[in-house]
Symmetry: C2
Subunit: 366 residues, 2 copies
């Protein structure tokens, strides 16, 4: 699935119904209907060194109607394809959870889902086989995207008309709320030098209050912990389409490094979407273990689960650079972690007056 | 603390420094400095039948410098008052977490906080004694407010100037993001008949996609689980200042009834703020246990913790009406719970075409 593939509704609908047509043809030819897709287990995830993202490997599994459970899976696929095609016809959308509940209204009881993880997985399978993202089937994610503040003017296509919004001048202190499907956004013009993704709401508010976005022409994107799919997609588009450097500012602990990893390299769960969601050129600002030492930040001791997570990151292909090995080993050595707001121990303006300008300069971003 | 008390910065500063001045006077009079405040334990929370909210009772505790730990508490209070007064002078703001970290920069080591719960609690104490809300000390909550969509035009005072925003025409599909301090919002004009607070993001998106806000002149407020302080404050202001009915639409389980309870009656943790945050006239839409039966909704069985929570709600003064007793007993009887999105089992439009119009009509809101 290539990141610039955003099929229109008719094309998405066609790719969906092609799958159903294939079952039909298999029947017509006297074959047992089946569907082949990549094996979706951890053992079939490979790190694509060139693209710098996780993708599925070469192993495939076949789902065939030659067993009752296989036939039931294909039946559910056909019902789901029918629902999605109708949704596209009517220009409607729905969430994964609604699809699960909606299946209760299907006349054929065997086609109804037993639980939501079953319907979620089926939609992912359809994404993989059709090469169309679920957003293009008009399946909205349950979680909304984050907030954006910075010198960027966008046009969003909403279901009640287009809206032109400048992400500093036309929004309140809370910023612009990314819609569930950020592919409805068109970038109009901007005065942005780089994207700054921020993990916590408290730090996001600090940067906005101190006017960091304005002074440094930064587009501040609030990640809010593990970032939603919509946030990662928008970040990637800002990088690819506007050619903006992407930087990530998180707490200094192993869980936050994973947040950086999911922005930059993609996640195992959505490996078929890495090219659509991941920004391999994203750069890590900090908090780095070296910052804890250099700035003598207030810390908490590493717990057992922190140590385990750091050790598993040492083995993780996404963290195999000299930079990460050094930082992770240093952190294991000092046995401490720090939050980004710990920078406030040097005053409320230290982060915007000193820490970020110095670090971004070192990184070649400023 | 009355809900229409929004002191300006000078007044907030004065009430703070008055506290410090009192310590000074006590010293000057040869007395041991002390501070008296309501006892902040569950045993001293009473339900104010007239106002319909939780408030503190008559018991008080005195914090005196006649012990080392009492003296240390007063010292921390003085340092904190000094910081807050300076923050007001400079028209800055900060979060509770920043205050905790910032204390590490204070010259006097004895005044530094040992952990954030200590500094959080001290700020609450200062709110209670001074009668000024922490927002008026310019302490921002860590959590941001929710999203609003509906026929309302507001003016928000941001730190980069005023912004006029119509919460349908000037925002994307994601809506207007409530700022951390909603008292910076002025209501300009509106065409709103009622406020509809919605628990989940999926249902909020469904209502917006189906244009429910537009068709019924509803202001849709996304609660996002247990609502942030900013969301509850905004809801109360919409009710009090614009005289709008407030309705609450949640999942049908005991935890969601508590969400309704915190919107309408306030919470034990913030009993000193009930008059500022709670909307006792708020009405519960559902999902009601009776809806589970009437609409034959897809359900999950009640777990042990659900049953315990329901039983404790039967004893809770906030749920002592006939309506709630009947609903909770019915739920214990059927042993089931349902999510709001379970309404999708009757089609994606059932909630906006049938369920909400019928229920709101019954409730006298439409």
């Amino acid at each position: 699935m290539s990141s610039d593939t955003t099929p229109d509704d008719a094309e998405a609908r066609e790719r969906l119904t092609d799958m159903a047509a294939e079952f039909y043809d298999q029947f017509a030819d006297g074959d047992v209907p089946s569907m082949t897709l990549p094996t979706r287990s951890k053992s079939n995830i490979v790190f694509d060194e060139d693209a710098g993202v996780w993708v599925y490997g070469d192993r495939t599994s076949t789902r065939s109607a030659n067993s009752v459970s296989g036939a039931r899976k294909l039946l559910k696929s056909v019902y789901t394809i029918d629902f999605l095609a109708q949704q596209l016809d009517e220009d409607r959308s729905s969430t994964l959870r609604e699809l699960y509940y909606l299946s209760e209204s299907w006349g054929e009881e065997e086609a109804q889902f037993n639980n939501q993880s079953e319907s979620d997985k089926l939609v992912e399978d359809l994404e993989i086989v059709s090469g169309v993202k679920r957003e293009d089937f008009h399946m909205r994610p349950e979680e909304s995207g984050a907030k954006v503040m910075g010198p960027l003017r966008i046009r969003e296509q909403t279901n009640r008309g287009d809206r032109e919004i400048h992400c500093q001048e036309d929004v309140g202190q809370g910023g612009y709320q990314i819609p569930n499907n950020p592919d409805t956004i068109e970038f109009l013009d901007h005065d942005t030098d780089f994207v700054l993704c921020v993990e916590t709401g408290g730090m996001r508010d600090r940067l906005v209050e101190n006017g960091f976005d304005d002074e440094y022409n930064a587009l501040v994107v609030h990640l809010g912990g593990q970032p939603a799919r919509a946030t990662r997609r928008l970040t990637k588009r800002l990088h690819d389409e506007l050619d903006l450097p992407v930087t990530v500012f998180t707490d200094g602990d192993p869980w936050s490094y994973r947040i950086f990893g999911s922005v930059s390299y993609g996640s195992i769960k959505s490996a078929h979407l890495s090219e659509y969601l991941a920004t391999p050129d994203a750069q890590f600002i900090g908090i780095r273990p070296a910052d804890i030492v250099e700035y003598d930040l207030p810390t908490d001791p590493l717990g057992d689960s922190d140590v385990n997570a750091l050790e598993s990151e040492l083995e993780d292909p996404r963290f195999q650079s000299d930079f990460w090995t050094e930082q992770i080993e240093l952190q294991l050595d000092i046995g401490k972690k720090a939050e980004q707001q710990a920078l406030a121990s040097r005053g409320l303006d230290f982060v915007t007056d000193t820490y970020l300008p110095e670090r971004l300069d070192e990184m070649g971003v400023l």
